[in-house]
């Protein structure tokens, strides 16, 4: 339970921190896509016998970078290339799962998360990713802000803006890997988007949104974990419903006028 609690807090804090950018940049869908696209990595992890979270990291990072490369090369909008990559990778993961005779993993656990079964390695991976993402957010803060607000102006200012954009996608892929362990492939989107959207309704400045979103995310994840434990439910849906409940309350008391 202690491991599950640590896992829940990490998910609750990290997903909304990166999710704040995703929400304000209209990139929420890419988080969902990345969650589905890491399935082949997770399955491969089970096949070769390494922790699936470790195997998911390179898959997520590769897909995140491919999204940008494909949309640039093909001249397609990024949501189209996300759609293609997301479906292809998820299908590949399902085929691998179906053809493998050695894996004894329930697809439902992958889709909905199994935080109570999180291993010590899973926690170490999550902690390692947390450190990397926090360092990334701190290092790239001004560049991320610039590239998110005025992409063209930032690109003219320095080629570093492009690097910051790629770094953002990598960070998104990394937090998705933490999120999947707790909320599962299908519901990790809730942790990325809902607390950040709630904070967007409540506070003015972007940095305040990040901090508030992290606090709300942690509260939702921990509450959801306890609810799931006592009511014998899956943790992912419980966390999602708590986060959504907070969002509905915020919607009733919001201070931000519609843009």
């Amino acid at each position: 339970m202690v491991r599950a609690l640590i896992g829940a807090i990490l998910v609750g804090v990290m997903c909304p921190l990166v999710g704040s950018y995703a929400v304000t940049r209209n990139l929420a869908f890419i988080g969902d896509a990345l969650a589905h696209a890491v399935l082949p990595g997770i399955v491969l992890g089970y096949i070769v016998g390494i922790n699936p979270a470790i195997a998911a990291v390179p898959t997520g990072v590769a897909v995140a970078l491919l999204v940008r490369a494909v949309s640039r090369r093909a001249g397609l909008s990024s949501d189209t290339s996300i759609g293609i990559l997301f479906a292809t990778m998820f299908a590949l993961g399902l085929v691998m799962l179906a053809r493998s005779t050695t894996i004894k993993v329930n697809i439902e656990d992958l889709l909905l998360g199994q935080i109570l079964a999180i291993t010590p390695t899973g926690i170490y991976v999550s902690l390692g990713i947390t450190v990397m993402v926090i360092l990334g957010l701190f290092t790239f803060h001004h560049w991320l802000l610039f590239a998110s607000f005025d992409p063209l102006g930032a690109q003219v200012n320095s080629t570093r803006a492009n690097v910051a954009d790629y770094a953002f996608l990598v960070m998104l892929a990394l937090v998705v890997v933490i999120g999947i362990q707790a909320a599962g492939i299908v519901l990790v989107l809730a942790m990325l988007v809902t607390p950040a959207a709630t904070a967007y309704l409540l506070v003015r400045r972007f940095v305040s949104i990040m901090i508030t979103a992290a606090a709300l995310g942690a509260a939702a994840a921990v509450t959801g974990l306890y609810v799931s434990y006592y009511l014998n439910l899956s943790a992912g849906p419980a966390m999602t419903l708590v986060a959504s409940g907070i969002f509905v309350l915020a919607l009733a008391f919001k201070r931000r006028a519609p843009a």
């Binding site: 209209n26 001004h142 802000l145 607000f149 102006g153 972007f206």
Partner: protein
């Protein structure tokens, strides 16, 4: 004209520049020079290639042929600052006036250094110059069109840019606010910077700009505003309607 600090002086030269977008020639054989300390208006109809020209100068679009060269006075001289059309900006991101001007310091910071006291002092000075220090904590969405443009000019100042490109900076900006913006731009011009401003608005160009570049996929004319708007040039830009504009005495 006030003698400029050497660090801001820059000159720019475009030689025979052609740009292709999606297989179509958006600009062909564009040639013009801009001296240090010039405020230039870039005018032309929709689709004339004003934004394409700015994108090519800024390096956002590849040049199919020709050269864009920028000569800066010294190593200290800042680069080029680009203020895009308002549609290209993500207004959903709730950033303050201070945040935006601080973005101009990004290229001076490097990867691992956070903004320090000097950066904050520069940002304060830049906000003072564009008259928006009192609005420093306001969100960008709370400002008027003219104030937003002045924040972007403040950001270019914080970047210590020697060339400013402002795309459609007058759109959604009332005449009084346009005047305030032009006044700020004239002070930058007086320091030796090059300021290029694309606009649809052909009124009030005289007195505001030193030079006007008339564009319609090629250079129709380039020179002082009181000289360039001949009936021939207007016809090249706007067809028969352009000639009527000149004969009506609007120009």
């Amino acid at each position: 004209m006030i003698a400029a600090p050497i660090s801001h002086r820059a000159s720019m030269s475009l030689q025979d520049v052609s740009v292709e977008i999606g297989g179509h020639l958006a600009l062909s054989n564009v040639t013009f020079d801009v001296e240090a300390g010039t405020l230039m208006g870039v005018v032309g109809p929709n689709g004339a290639g004003k934004s394409t020209l700015f994108n090519a100068i800024a390096g956002l679009l590849p040049v199919r042929q020709g050269t864009v060269s920028l000569h800066r006075a010294g190593q200290e001289s800042g680069g080029l600052a680009y203020v895009p059309q308002r549609e290209s900006v993500n207004w959903r991101l709730p950033v303050t006036v201070m945040d935006v001007v601080m973005m101009g310091r990004c290229c001076r910071l490097g990867w691992f250094r956070r903004p320090g006291r000097r950066d904050r002092e520069i940002v304060k000075a830049c906000l003072g110059r564009v008259g928006l220090w009192d609005h420093r904590s306001a969100l960008m969405t709370e400002l008027s069109g003219g104030q937003k443009q002045r924040v972007f000019v403040g950001r270019a100042l914080a970047q210590e840019a020697s060339v400013l490109l402002l795309d459609e900076a007058f759109s959604g900006v009332d005449v009084a606010a346009q005047e305030a913006l032009v006044e700020v731009l004239q002070t930058l011009r007086d320091e030796g910077r090059i300021v290029l401003l694309a606009t649809h608005d052909l009124t009030n160009l005289t007195g505001r700009f030193d030079q006007v570049l008339c564009l319609n996929r090629h250079v129709c004319a380039c020179g002082p505003p009181e000289q360039v708007f001949t009936p021939e040039v207007m016809e090249q830009m706007y067809g028969a309607h352009g000639v009527r504009l000149t004969t009506d005495g609007e120009r």
